[in-house]
């Protein structure tokens, strides 16, 4: 497999996103953002929420894009799907990127479509050579269609698959090596998955190709329990970033320096000021590691 983007030292370091904190843009906050122009590094939106023909979403995103760098985050491409990528969807994505010229595009290491059904969830993959081959092929197709490198996000997982023969970190490392894509390091996903699978989050991070990190995600999780009563963390984006995740984030920054960092909140969306306070905290931590 020929990498479309040669694996140089920092393959998909999004050139335009500043090494600052950004926020997921929620439609509840469109007007306040425009009226108050908060001091933020960037905004990120879900690509699929802006694939409609027109209307207020495009109106407001256009105005906000004029003022801020933008990251486009896909949630529906099903990169790990057994079938081929949805070409129609990929074309919509290319059109959206053409329209808004985002500084970064990212997607998930997961699958979400099967046949004609879209399952609206990020589902776990078997980490074996067949999946590796397929994921790399799909990422090559995305990168050549979009004519830019993408960032791949490490998943939150709740289950392990018997068919897996590779550790998740080895799988990710190999995908990045083969395709030249970058890594969107979701520190909350690292924490959630490691607690769920009784692994050491620091060791997990050490095993990743950190030089490829182009963006970091931080979010809150919910807590549940499994049939044994053990902690089962759920990546619900419905709470403030947990202290344990902030600590892990500091460790990452100490290792690799400042990286564009997104605060994600998709459920129980609070007032903009609450999210801005979290972004400010991330910004302060970023300042601490600035050379």
């Amino acid at each position: 497999m020929t990498p479309i983007f040669a694996h140089t030292s920092s393959p998909a370091q999004a050139p335009g996103l500043p090494d600052r904190a950004g926020l997921g843009l929620k439609h509840e906050h469109f007007i306040e953002v425009l009226e108050t122009s908060p001091d933020l590094g960037f905004f990120e939106v879900h690509a699929e929420n802006y694939m409609m023909a027109g209307g207020p979403f495009h109106h407001y995103l256009g105005l906000i894009r004029d003022q801020y760098p933008l990251s486009l985050h896909g949630v529906g491409l099903s990169i790990g799907g057994e079938g081929s990528l949805n070409r129609e969807h990929l074309a919509r994505l290319a059109a959206l990127i053409e329209r808004y010229q985002p500084q970064a595009f990212s997607e998930h290491l997961a699958w979400s479509s099967h046949g004609s059904v879209f399952l609206n969830d990020l589902l776990p993959l078997a980490y074996d050579s067949a999946t590796l081959h397929r994921v790399c092929e799909h990422i090559d197709q995305v990168q050549s269609t979009l004519k830019r490198p993408m960032l791949l996000e490490n998943p939150s997982t709740y289950l392990q698959l018997e068919r897996s023969t590779l550790a998740e970190t080895d799988f990710i490392t190999e995908v990045i090596r083969r395709t030249g894509c970058g890594l969107l390091l979701d520190v909350n996903n690292v924490y959630v998955s490691c607690i769920n699978h009784q692994r050491d989050p620091s060791a997990y991070i050490d095993a990743l190709p950190l030089q490829a990190v182009g963006e970091i995600h931080l979010a809150g999780f919910a807590e549940d329990s499994d049939s044994l009563g053990d902690r089962l963390l759920i990546d619900d984006h419905g709470a403030p970033v947990d202290n344990a995740v902030w600590q892990l984030y500091e460790q990452v920054l100490a290792r690799i320096g400042p990286i564009p960092t997104l605060i994600e909140r998709d459920n129980q969306v609070p007032a903009l000021s609450v999210l801005l306070a979290e972004a400010q905290h991330a910004d302060w931590l970023l300042t601490q590691v600035r050379p």
Binding site: H27, E28, H46, E48, N49, P56, F57, H73, V75, G76, H108, N120, D121, L122, S156, Y158, A219, A222, E223, D224, I234, D235, D236, H237, G238, E264, D266, N267
Partner: protein, 97 residues
């Protein structure tokens, strides 16, 4: 034929009757107009509809059996055209389960 004639008559009358002041009247005093009760006070946020999410949900809610449930919202406050009491029916549908 009658329809055709009256359509022509209506259109002929149109050229002279359409005016900017009529626009303003319709837009602002619609309640006075015979057929058009304007209801535009809708909350536009709702019209946005849903968005995508890449987040999980933890709440394990037991799904109620819809076949055993009865509509129990504001419909019980409006007269019903089909129920014998004139209001939303309170009897459960047991036909299927």
């Amino acid at each position: 034929m009658t329809t055709k004639l009256s359509a022509t008559a209506l259109i002929l009358a149109l050229g002279s009757s359409l005016s900017l002041s009529a626009m303003t009247t319709t837009a602002h005093a619609a309640d006075d107009v015979k057929c058009y009760g304007i209801a535009e006070a809708g909350k536009n946020d709702c019209a946005a509809g849903p968005g995508t999410s890449c987040a999980g949900t933890s709440k394990t809610k037991d799904q109620a059996n819809a076949w055993k449930l009865v509509p129990a919202g504001t419909c019980t406050q409006t007269p019903s055209t089909s129920s014998p009491t004139g209001f939303g029916q309170e009897a459960a549908f047991d036909a299927k389960s």
